[in-house]
């Protein structure tokens, strides 16, 4: 199974200018170019879609899910255009949106039944069993009769995951699955994703690095609508070898140091500040120790604008 995204472009315009675009005329000043010639291919496994706010992750996800049409480009699954496949494609996907908006007046069970019907899960013992199985998987069996409005944030996230996996989809797309949840919940969700991802294409859009560290097959980095990298974690961290250092900076020189360096983290010890930095060039003015780069370093390296160049 292959999900291909080929040369996707998407720009947001003001409403009145949208009519001009349909007639083929170029726009002089669109509001925002959300995606710029994004192309990649996904096989089974977990993929992390990373980028800061406004990078285009949600737009890309909405296109992959079929909720939004790109201006140009193609999204295909097993060689077929997903927009032409229509309902057939949507039978194979599970989507978890970014925000926790659901029908607050419904109970957990009612909501899952409602979504199950829309996912064409048939009436019969199989259907009911599947719902119970999914509730057990996300550990919401005790809350089946509770109204969604009364659930905590973590429970709502789990419910969103539950509705996404209800139809045992081939393609699972999760938009910020751990947003607003506590560390325990985050680990639980991360482990759940690993468990259910066997033989599926799982795309996790996030800007929280620990969520996808170690579990993702490949990381896709988006920046201002363009894809800057798509590679495994090992390769991405290898790219940063020789660029991550620990500097011992005297406290009185810290202010100047901060202005000219990409600091990942700092720890103060008496009169010295141990700063973890990312730099293309080795800093010679202070005590320096080269470190093994992590995924967080990769993220910061790609999304921080100021890097000192000698």
């Amino acid at each position: 199974m292959t999900l291909k995204v080929e040369n996707i472009n998407k720009t947001y315009y003001r409403r009145r200018r949208l009519h001009k675009l349909r007639s083929g005329k170029e726009m002089s000043s669109p509001i925002k170019k959300a995606l710029d010639s994004v192309s990649f291919s996904l096989e089974s496994g977990i993929y992390a879609l990373m980028g800061p706010n406004g990078a285009g992750k949600t737009t890309l996800i909405n296109i992959m899910v079929g909720n939004l049409k790109p201006d140009t480009g193609l999204v295909s699954y097993k060689g077929q255009d997903i927009f032409k496949m229509g309902a057939e494609y949507r039978k194979l996907i599970g989507y978890m949106p970014q925000h926790q908006w659901m029908y607050e007046n419904m109970t957990v069970m009612q909501f899952l039944y409602y979504i199950a019907t829309l996912k064409d899960i048939k009436k019969g013992p199989g259907g009911k069993e599947r719902i119970e199985q999914v509730l057990d998987l996300v550990n919401l069996t005790q809350e089946t009769n509770k109204k969604i409005g009364a659930l905590s944030g973590g429970m709502k996230q789990r419910l969103l995951i539950a509705q996404a996996i209800l139809n045992d989809p081939d393609i699972l797309i999760l938009d910020e699955p751990t947003a607003g949840v506590d560390p325990n919940e985050r680990i639980r969700i991360k482990n759940l994703i690993s468990r259910i991802s066997f033989n599926k294409i799982v795309v996790i859009a996030t800007h929280v690095v620990p969520d996808v560290e170690y579990i993702s097959k490949e990381i896709i980095l988006l920046k201002e609508g363009a894809m800057i990298h798509k590679d495994s974690q090992d390769h991405l961290t290898k790219m940063l070898e020789g660029k991550v250092f620990e500097c011992h900076v005297p406290v009185d020189k810290l202010h100047e140091f901060e202005k000219s360096h990409n600091i990942v983290s700092m720890v103060k010890e008496k009169d010295i500040v141990k700063a973890r930095i990312i730099s293309d060039y080795q800093e010679l003015d202070f005590d320096v120790k080269e470190l093994v780069p992590s995924l967080e370093d990769v993220y910061l390296y790609n999304y921080r604008s100021s890097i000192r160049l000698d």
């Binding site: 899910v65 079929g66 927009f83 309902a87 659901m102 829309l118």
Partner: protein, 201 residues
């Protein structure tokens, strides 16, 4: 007055249906399911149209009951030409048949009106805006009648809210109005449904 009340209740029932999903972003989850587009649309239509027909019939029954209390409706088997307003009606039918015809026409027109409100709901992502636009659509004929704005009355939703107008004012402006408004509603609904199902909403 009854038809205006009916129209306002139709708006309050129908306008939030899709706007609510859009306002609370549920359409993202629904749109990602296999039956969240066309099937959902068809199902909602299939529920609401008979419901609207039932409500319309209930309204007519209550109205006729009140008339029979106040005046006593008599001689319903008399020919429709007995009423001065229908003296030039081309077909000789009795009042019962006319009442049934009016009821059936009323139901069809109510369905068209509901389609219009439905389309407004699909196009709007705010429940209050949908309710407002629907209310304005209901209130417009009322206001136009007051101000005697003849040109605007050529194209208004009046007949959809008072179908009996079609029977005793069967003149070319009324026919033209019906044709224009029906075409407008059909085109508007078609556009709204197309946008909804083709992920451009």
């Amino acid at each position: 007055m009854n038809t205006t009340i009916f129209a306002l209740f139709s708006v309050s029932l129908l306008a939030p249906i899709f706007s609510f999903d859009r306002q609370y972003k549920m359409e993202r989850i629904l749109g990602a399911t296999s039956r969240g587009n066309k099937y959902l649309l068809k199902t909602r239509f299939r529920i609401l149209l008979p419901l609207q027909a039932l409500m319309y019939i209930a309204m007519q029954v209550i109205w006729y009951s009140s008339l029979s209390y106040r005046y006593g409706i008599k001689n319903i088997s008399g020919n429709i030409q007995s009423l001065p307003i229908f003296k030039d009606f081309p077909i000789v039918i009795d009042m019962r048949v006319m009442l049934i015809l009016q009821l059936l026409t009323g139901i069809l027109l109510v369905w068209l009106f509901c389609t219009f409100i439905f389309s407004i709901s699909i196009k709007n992502s705010d429940v209050i805006q949908s309710l407002l636009i629907g209310t304005i659509a209901c209130v417009c004929p009322f206001i136009l009648a007051f101000v005697n704005f003849d040109l605007a009355k050529m194209f208004w939703l009046g007949p959809f809210l008072a179908p009996s107008l079609l029977f005793y004012k069967f003149t070319w402006p009324v026919i033209l109005n019906m044709v224009v408004m029906t075409s407008f509603i059909v085109l508007f609904a078609h556009k709204a449904v197309k946008d909804y199902t083709s992920a451009q909403v």
